[in-house]
């Protein structure tokens, strides 16, 4: 585990990370990554995530994650455009995304290094 684990709070969430999101960490990462490119409303988010990740977020799952992210102050709602409401990344959200992606990259680097270093299928 990373050095961050020593600072984990009661709910297991890393400060600035997405550890407390549990099974919502996946959708949360996708949403935050999408919003890192600029504010978007629900349908634009769905399409953007589908384009860059090949994952289609279902409406219920998308809004569960949006509600949690908003509750944690990682994203914020902007003024409605007609009946569609765009969301944008907050500074705390940007930090959380960076910490989470850094962690994921470390794991990915280890896995790739070990695969390249002589994994034997036999």
């Amino acid at each position: 585990m990373t050095a961050m684990a020593g600072n984990a709070n009661r709910s297991g969430q890393e400060p600035g990370g997405l550890g407390g999101f549990g099974r919502y960490a996946g959708p949360a990462t996708l949403i935050l990554s999408s919003l890192a490119g600029g504010p978007k409303h629900g349908y634009a988010l769905t399409k953007d995530v589908e384009e860059f990740a090949g994952v289609r977020l279902a409406p219920g799952t998308l809004y569960e994650a949006l509600s949690r992210l908003e509750g944690q102050g990682l994203i914020e709602a902007l003024e409605s455009q007609d009946r569609r409401r765009p969301y944008r990344l907050t500074a705390a959200g940007a930090l959380a995304l960076r910490v989470h992606l850094d962690d994921q990259r470390r794991v990915a680097d280890v896995g790739l290094r070990r695969l390249a270093g002589g994994w034997d299928p036999a």
Binding site: R10, H41, G42, P59, Y63, D82, R83
Partner: protein, 336 residues
């Protein structure tokens, strides 16, 4: 817009509105418009998808559970505590309605003839002790709540608080008045209401019988039910409504009142004690149904008693979950 396109838009709007109904009112008030827009865009792209419908259904039910304080979704701590306590009140009420019917059956049976040493005796002692403890806890819980209601009505007589207070008062008043009225018509043993003719004073047995008259297998036998006096059938229909109104009022007050952290901690502690008493009550009920359910007369357990056990187990697990999360929120994080 052409007529067919207009018709298609109306159909899509109706479908979106139907799906939105899975979510609680507070969620719809916050996200309803934008979520409807997303659904309409999804319908235009993919008109039919059972996965999407299942996802919205699951998410809506989860939002309802979250609103009831039953998930670990991080609500604001005071709101989580109040939502959990309100759900615990609902669960306790459901538990006591079916459990009370079972208990009254045993107390009345004892009025006619004591069951002798055995599971029914153990069950009735355990259930009675737990019921008395629960009644004491309810009184202790009502004291700060009543004070908060009086203060809220005096300072900020907001409509929802007034409505909840009125529901609680009218519902419980109707249950007590009706219960006492029909208890007088109880076909009992003729013992004086205040004298312990059986296990408990006859008046207690009669009141518990009248208060839970609606929990009856006679609903499944309309022919036999029709032989009952019309007033009694009317009471069987009205008393659950009055009980629901009373509990809805109390739960609404817990949700809406601005209770101090100290009161929330106190109420959460009482709710935990109530959950423990429910375990004792349920153990007594299981003891009777499983060990001595084939006893004579009123000590015979029927299908309705087995169904009651299932309802009580569900209510108990809900109360324990709600109480546990309410306590965590009310007490705050433990110092490390």
């Amino acid at each position: 817009m052409t007529a067919p396109a207009d018709q298609a838009a109306r159909t899509a709007a109706r479908r979106a509105a139907r799906l939105l109904r899975w979510y609680p009112a507070s969620w719809r008030a916050r996200y309803g418009d934008e979520f409807t827009e997303l659904l309409l865009a999804e319908f235009a792209e993919r008109p039919r998808s059972w996965r999407r419908a299942a996802d919205v259904t699951r998410s809506g039910l989860l939002a309802r559970l979250t609103g009831a304080g039953l998930t670990s979704h991080p609500l604001e701590p005071s709101r989580q505590a109040r939502a959990g306590l309100a759900t615990a009140a609902w669960s306790l009420a459901a538990f006591l309605i079916v459990g009370g019917a079972m208990w009254s059956q045993l107390t009345i049976g004892w009025e006619w003839a004591p069951p002798g040493p055995g599971a029914a005796t153990v069950a009735l002692v355990a259930m009675s002790a737990a019921a008395a403890f629960l009644a004491a806890l309810a009184l202790l819980a009502a004291i700060p709540l009543t004070w908060s209601v009086a203060r809220a009505l005096k300072n900020h007589p907001e409509r929802p608080v007034r409505r909840s207070a009125w529901f609680a008062l009218a519902g419980s008043g109707l249950v007590v008045a009706g219960g006492r009225h029909f208890a007088n018509a109880w076909p009992g043993t003729g013992a004086h209401p205040s004298l312990p003719h059986g296990f408990l004073p006859a008046g207690v047995a009669a009141f518990s019988w009248a208060g839970t008259l609606s929990v009856s297998s006679y609903w499944a036998h309309p022919g036999a039910l029709a032989a009952f006096p019309a007033a009694e059938i009317a009471w069987m229909a009205v008393s659950p409504v009055a009980l629901v109104a009373a509990v809805a009022g109390v739960a609404g007050l817990v949700r809406r009142l601005e209770l101090s952290p100290r009161v929330l901690r106190y109420e959460a502690w009482l709710a935990s004690a109530a959950a423990a008493a429910m375990v004792v009550f349920l153990a007594g009920a299981c003891c009777w149904v499983l060990a001595e359910g084939s006893g004579p007369g009123l000590f015979h357990a029927g299908a309705i008693d087995v169904a009651s056990l299932a309802v009580m187990m569900l209510a108990l697990s809900t109360a324990q979950r709600a109480t546990s999360l309410a306590r965590k929120s009310a007490l705050g994080p433990r110092p490390r």
